[in-house]
């Protein structure tokens, strides 16, 4: 395929300016979904066009970029997005969570705690936490304007009365800085506690739905719950079969058709670092 000369990080400067303005508003109004004029990207909607536009608008030549999907650096779409930025921006990439200045992610927050100055960019399919309760934008916009979120509590309460539990396991809604309720993107609720008081800046990009929102560093992010049914983080009974971690989110791998299965870390960087440390310990 022949590549004509595109601008640094693909987007033209006017588009970057428009997205940058939206990002600043999103930080000033934590959790509020800022409409933006999302462009048609050379990858399909649903593949991370929102995250890619946000990353392209903030990325500079000195950045070190990490891209993960399902926690892993080597999933095909993560590989594809990383290759896109190598090709259009020539930036340095890494799989090392601590080394990255920008991490674009789909569905996970890395296990390694993030630090000041890092930016986590989430790919978001449906930015509106109320969308499955009220499909109309005209209605949900009013609910946000009034801070009227009763419908969300009703839904969670119905879960409890039917199942004995809140039946939301991912994209678990949270209240940001005491005001807006946001969809943290389809991360497992295991990751929700990492959003709270996080030292890194968190940006959320929804391309098809044309919305950007943000959580500034050190901001209160509280999962919705009830006093008698407090938010519970998913716990695993197993440890990672590769590194032995008991504190990480695990992927289930089916090993045969006779019920055989094992669990491995979804965060490949975290897992590999732990395996390397174990090998080093064993060698010493």
């Amino acid at each position: 395929m022949s590549t004509r000369a595109y601008n640094f990080a693909y987007l033209d400067e006017q588009t970057k300016r428009m997205i940058r303005r939206a990002i600043l508003k999103a930080i000033a109004i934590p959790g509020y979904q800022v409409p933006f004029a999302s462009r048609e990207m050379p990858m399909p909607y649903g593949w991370g066009t929102g995250g890619v536009q946000v990353t392209a608008s903030i990325l500079g030549p000195d950045d070190v970029l990490k891209v993960i999907d399902q926690g892993a650096d080597d999933t095909t779409n993560a590989v594809s997005i990383r290759a896109f930025f190598v090709r259009t921006a020539g930036v340095r990439t890494t799989t090392d969570t601590s080394e990255a200045t920008i991490i674009q992610t789909r569905h996970r927050v890395p296990e390694t705690p993030l630090s000041e100055g890092q930016i986590l960019v989430y790919q978001v399919p449906i930015p509106e936490p109320l969308r499955y309760l009220e499909p109309r934008e005209t209605e949900t916009r009013t609910m946000h304007a009034l801070g009227e979120y009763g419908v969300m509590h009703v839904k969670l309460y119905e879960d409890i009365s039917r199942h004995g539990h809140i039946a939301t396991t991912y994209a678990y809604p949270a209240r940001v800085a005491g005001r807006y309720i946001m969809d943290p993107s389809p991360i497992p609720k295991f990751d929700n506690p990492k959003l709270d008081d996080c030292p890194a800046l968190q940006l959320f990009g929804a391309g098809r739905e044309k919305r950007i929102y943000a959580i500034p560093p050190h901001t209160r992010v509280v999962p919705l719950d009830f006093e008698d049914h407090p938010f519970e983080r998913t716990k695993f009974d197993s440890a990672c079969a590769l590194c032995g971690a008991t504190d990480s989110y695990l992927d289930e791998v089916v090993t045969d058709d006779a019920g055989g299965r094992l669990f491995v870390c979804s965060d490949t960087d975290y897992c590999e670092k732990r395996q390397a440390a174990k090998r080093k310990d064993a060698a010493e």
């Binding site: 050379p42 649903g46 926690g71």
Partner: protein
């Protein structure tokens, strides 16, 4: 011991190589040229230009070739290319009354100035497979002489303009010169949408989606009593106002299909009864698209005319949010991307519910 799956990069490279191979197909068959697609699959090119919202036959033909004939994929290619093009400004409104017509039919008048011109249409073809087209050396068809209606028959005023002379149809007010024009590719759509934004959305909308919605209005889900005032297909001049010159200059001609529906009248409360309109416009020749668009445009005006909502075609937010096939195919198809993490979260909850449920059942025994 279990080893995690690797090799995303190589897998992607191989997928692209395989795709290129399958696109080319059997090497004994001559490679398709974009000129052949442009000339002989012209209606596919028209659709890709319309829904790709870029009037460029060469790019559309190339996109169809690259997409192996998958038109939504081709539309996507054209859209992504279009985004990178510089913008010089807005054209002047096109004067479809002055089009050079290849086809013009009205379902409302038997005869009218300019006449009915059948032109190139499938309408009265018997749908019998033409085995004569199987061979490459079939004798070339000959076109009848003098097909351009305007040349032969003089001016062909728009039917809606004729009805408007008698004040029997609502007036279309020309926007004041210099008024801002919506651009749904540059601004996030907000509801309620202005009519220009709505028409842009429908013009880019998926032909199949609009067709089904239009059909639903005919079956009672928001009936609008439509008559095809006129469908015209032909070439229209595009003009741009050049500030430095102080006047508009023609920058080229484009092929268009325009459909003006004449619909159920309104009036009462002291206002005279008048027909209403629905409007459809598509690049190239696409009557199905233009007619569907006109029906849906009219259905979406239900609130304007105080009509009861009876079907999805009248629901602006529903229609405009779901009409775009590039968005729709992206979001539907993204389900094939990995969702291991969320699925695992659901599995864990399900297992917990089963355990709790089991405990409850045991306790009850």
């Amino acid at each position: 011991m279990y080893v995690a799956v690797k090799g995303g990069e190589r897998a992607i490279r191989n997928a692209h190589a395989l795709l290129a191979d399958r696109r080319r197909g059997n090497r004994d068959t001559p490679e398709l040229t974009t000129a052949q697609i442009d000339e002989q699959l012209a209606l596919a090119v028209d659709r890709v230009m319309s829904e790709g919202s870029l009037y460029d036959r060469g790019i559309a033909a190339l996109a169809i070739k690259q997409a192996r004939g998958d038109l939504i994929e081709a539309i996507f290619l054209v859209r992504a290319y279009r985004t990178t093009l510089p913008r010089f400004g807005f054209a002047e409104p096109i004067d479809t009354a002055a089009m050079t017509l290849s086809r013009r039919v009205s379902a409302t008048y038997k005869d009218l100035p300019g006449g009915q011109v059948l032109g190139p249409t499938f309408d009265y073809s018997h749908r019998l497979i033409d085995f004569g087209l199987e061979t490459e050396d079939a004798p070339a068809p000959t076109a009848p002489a003098a097909t351009a209606a305007s040349d032969a028959q003089g001016p062909s005023p728009r039917v809606t303009d004729l009805i408007a002379r008698d004040d029997l149809i609502e007036r279309e007010l020309a926007p004041r010169p210099g008024a801002p024009v919506s651009d749904i590719t540059r601004d996030a759509l907000a509801f309620p949408a202005a009519r220009d934004a709505r028409l842009q959305n429908l013009a880019r909308g998926d032909e199949g989606f609009l067709l089904s919605l239009a059909y639903s209005t005919q079956r009672g889900y928001g009936r609008t009593h439509p008559f095809v005032g006129e469908i015209r297909f032909g070439e229209a001049a595009v003009e741009m106002f050049i500030d430095d010159l102080g006047f508009a200059v023609s920058i080229g001609d484009i092929a268009l299909t325009e459909c003006q529906m004449v619909n159920q009248f309104t009036g009462g409360d002291g206002r005279p009864a008048r027909f209403t309109r629905g409007y459809g416009l598509a690049f190239g020749q696409s009557e199905r698209k233009a007619m569907s668009m006109a029906l849906v445009d009219r259905a979406l005006r239900a609130d304007e005319f105080g009509e009861e909502h009876k079907g999805p075609a009248q629901d602006e937010e529903f229609v405009l949010s779901h009409s775009d096939n590039v968005q729709a195919t992206g979001f539907v198809e993204h389900l094939k991307l990995p969702h291991y993490v969320d699925f695992q979260a659901e599995l864990a909850l399900l297992r917990q519910l089963r355990r709790d449920g089991g405990a409850v059942a045991e306790a009850a025994e």
